[in-house]
């Protein structure tokens, strides 16, 4: 057998436990041994499951180790890591959880996974200076409404119909505190410096933040937020999000409309 064929057979048997070990393997005693090949199968399976369990700790706590292993196995079967950068493995685990029927009884599970995926992404994201309030304050008021803010490379938002921020928080300590929050929550994951922060946003700011993350101008984002919640406070929301590290520093102090020649 040539090198490529040997490897293809080896890989196929690792990926499909129903297959026998590949032909052409042997031992010092001259006979193949299934248990020895199983070491490789086990290394691959356990390694990937551990990578997921390390990244999605709260998801595992919510469903228990046994169920998590089952869910991880199903995910792994359909989604091998695309690269040797294992910290990126599971970026789409939340999407899978949403389609995984046995997990349907835990409807907030996928959104908790989204928070945990965002935390790892934030941890490894590019370093960038966060936007400073002073930069916004220096803008001529008439330009402020036309300004678009660039999300910080480490920042991400998870909006959920469930109190996922509170659920996530309750599972950070050894003993799980009861979650009293009800209703949806918007969670901002950000890392303006080196520490990743996970913040539950005030409900009235969620739509505004989401609009800014979608690239809307400040004025338009505020116009969308106000009718949804009359308590919405433009200045407070903007200062709050900026302080948490949601946005990158503006590269042109003249700011405004971002790219005047864009259209």
């Amino acid at each position: 057998m040539g090198h490529a064929a040997t490897e293809a057979a080896f890989a196929a048997a690792i990926l499909d436990p129903a297959l026998p070990p590949p032909a052409g393997l042997t031992t010092a005693r001259g006979a193949p041994d299934e248990k020895r090949f199983a070491v490789y199968r086990n290394n691959v399976a356990v390694g990937l499951r551990k990578a997921l369990a390390t990244r999605f700790r709260v998801v595992e706590r919510l469903v228990g180790e046994e169920f998590f292993a089952l869910m991880a196995r199903a995910y792994i079967a359909g989604a091998r890591p695309a690269s040797p950068l294992l910290f990126a493995y599971g970026d789409d685990f939340a999407d899978f959880i949403e389609t995984f029927a046995p997990a349907a009884s835990v409807p907030y599970l996928a959104d908790v996974a989204r928070i945990e995926a965002a935390v790892t992404r934030a941890y490894h994201a590019a370093d960038a200076a966060p936007l400073a309030i002073a930069q916004l304050a220096a803008l001529p008021p008439e330009r402020l409404a036309e300004t678009r803010l660039a999300p910080h490379p480490a920042a991400a938002m998870v909006r959920s119909r469930f109190p996922v921020g509170s659920i996530w928080q309750a599972h950070q300590s050894e003993t799980v505190a009861p979650v009293s929050a009800a209703g949806g929550e918007a969670v901002l994951v950000a890392r303006p410096g080196f520490e990743v922060g996970i913040h539950i946003l005030p409900t009235r700011d969620a739509g505004f933040a989401a609009a800014l993350f979608a690239g809307e101008m400040l004025g338009d984002a505020a116009a969308q937020a106000l009718p949804a919640d009359p308590d919405f406070d433009f200045g407070g929301a903007l200062v709050g999000l900026t302080g948490l590290g949601a946005f990158s520093v503006m590269t042109r102090m003249d700011g405004g409309g971002e790219d005047d020649g864009d259209d």
Binding site: G2, H3, A28, D33
Partner: protein
């Protein structure tokens, strides 16, 4: 072509430890006297954040060994050019004193398999591995140390002895070798070989670094001892005896304590490193000028 000194390692001939982020604060606060730190290259291939901050800080204080686990040098398929570029970036940025990878493969058409898988030793695989090592050294602009694997199976088609295979790759490419003494023990027991004879036959003059780790033990389908390269415990006594024998033959060589699973506090790793350091100091005192093969 002028002969290149293949044993040229710029890691100090002392014991080092595998770095884990959970030990960062401890290391920065206590500044332990340790020869070097080694990291898995792939964990530092993100764009920024704490991983790079830690590596910048540590590489300013300690000699650094960059150990790749994802290049898949032993694969039939071409090397991943994107991954090579990432390695080049890391090497340029942190200027590690050593860069090493494995005689193994881990990437297939279906993706990354996250294990160091074995390859048959044939003229075809030898040519391919040598080409790959050559490509890595060209792409990164520096010498690579290639590590002997721990294996659980043998290939019927293998026609070249493992040591001869490694020696030939080094001869053809100018790469150095990383001798993992735990892997020697694991493979020797698993394939009914004498681990001391393996070390005695190994081209020790090419060795730029030694690895030590703990193994697990089970039995195979025929009830024979099967050692597993587990990296989750202290170095076993038989591996340590083999290490003493190795250093006795090749002199003091940078030696890493590897611990990747169930990682204990840094004090335990430090303790293991001191044990290895004592062996290295002893070898240096007894054979101050020796560096024989």
């Amino acid at each position: 072509m002028p002969y290149e000194p293949l044993h040229a390692s710029r890691l100090p001939p002392r014991a080092g430890a595998g770095f884990k982020p959970e030990h960062y604060a401890d290391i920065v606060e206590t500044a332990p006297d340790i020869g070097f730190l080694e990291v898995h290259a792939e964990n530092y291939m993100g764009d920024g954040g704490m991983p790079h901050r830690m590596l910048a800080e540590l590489s300013a204080r300690y000699a650094l060994s960059l150990h790749g686990v994802g290049l898949s040098i032993g694969a039939a398929r071409p090397l991943d050019k994107t991954h090579l570029a990432r390695l080049r970036l890391l090497i340029d940025r942190y200027r590690p004193q050593s860069f090493s990878e494995h005689l193994a493969w881990s990437t297939h058409d279906t993706g990354f398999l996250n294990d160091l898988l074995p390859l048959p030793y044939t003229p075809e695989t030898l040519a391919r591995v040598a080409d790959h090592v050559d490509e890595v050294q060209q792409a990164t602009g520096r010498q690579l140390l290639l590590e002997n694997p721990s294996t659980y199976v043998l290939f019927e088609e293998s026609s070249i002895d493992e040591i001869e295979f490694l020696d030939a790759v080094a001869e053809r490419t100018g790469c150095g070798l990383l001798l993992d003494v735990n892997n020697v023990m694991v493979s020797a027991v698993n394939h009914g070989l004498d681990p001391f004879a393996y070390v005695d036959r190994f081209p020790l003059a090419r060795v730029g670094e030694i690895h030590l780790a703990g193994y697990d033990e089970t039995v195979d389908g025929a009830g024979e001892r099967l050692l597993i390269d587990a990296h989750g415990s202290r170095v076993r006594e038989d591996v340590f005896a083999l290490y003493r024998h190795t250093v006795g033959r090749c002199g003091a060589v940078a030696t890493l304590i590897e611990w990747d699973n169930d990682v204990p506090g840094f004090a335990v790793l430090y303790d293991e490193a001191r044990r290895a350091d004592a062996v290295l100091a002893d070898a240096a005192a007894r054979r101050p000028l020796s560096r024989s093969a």
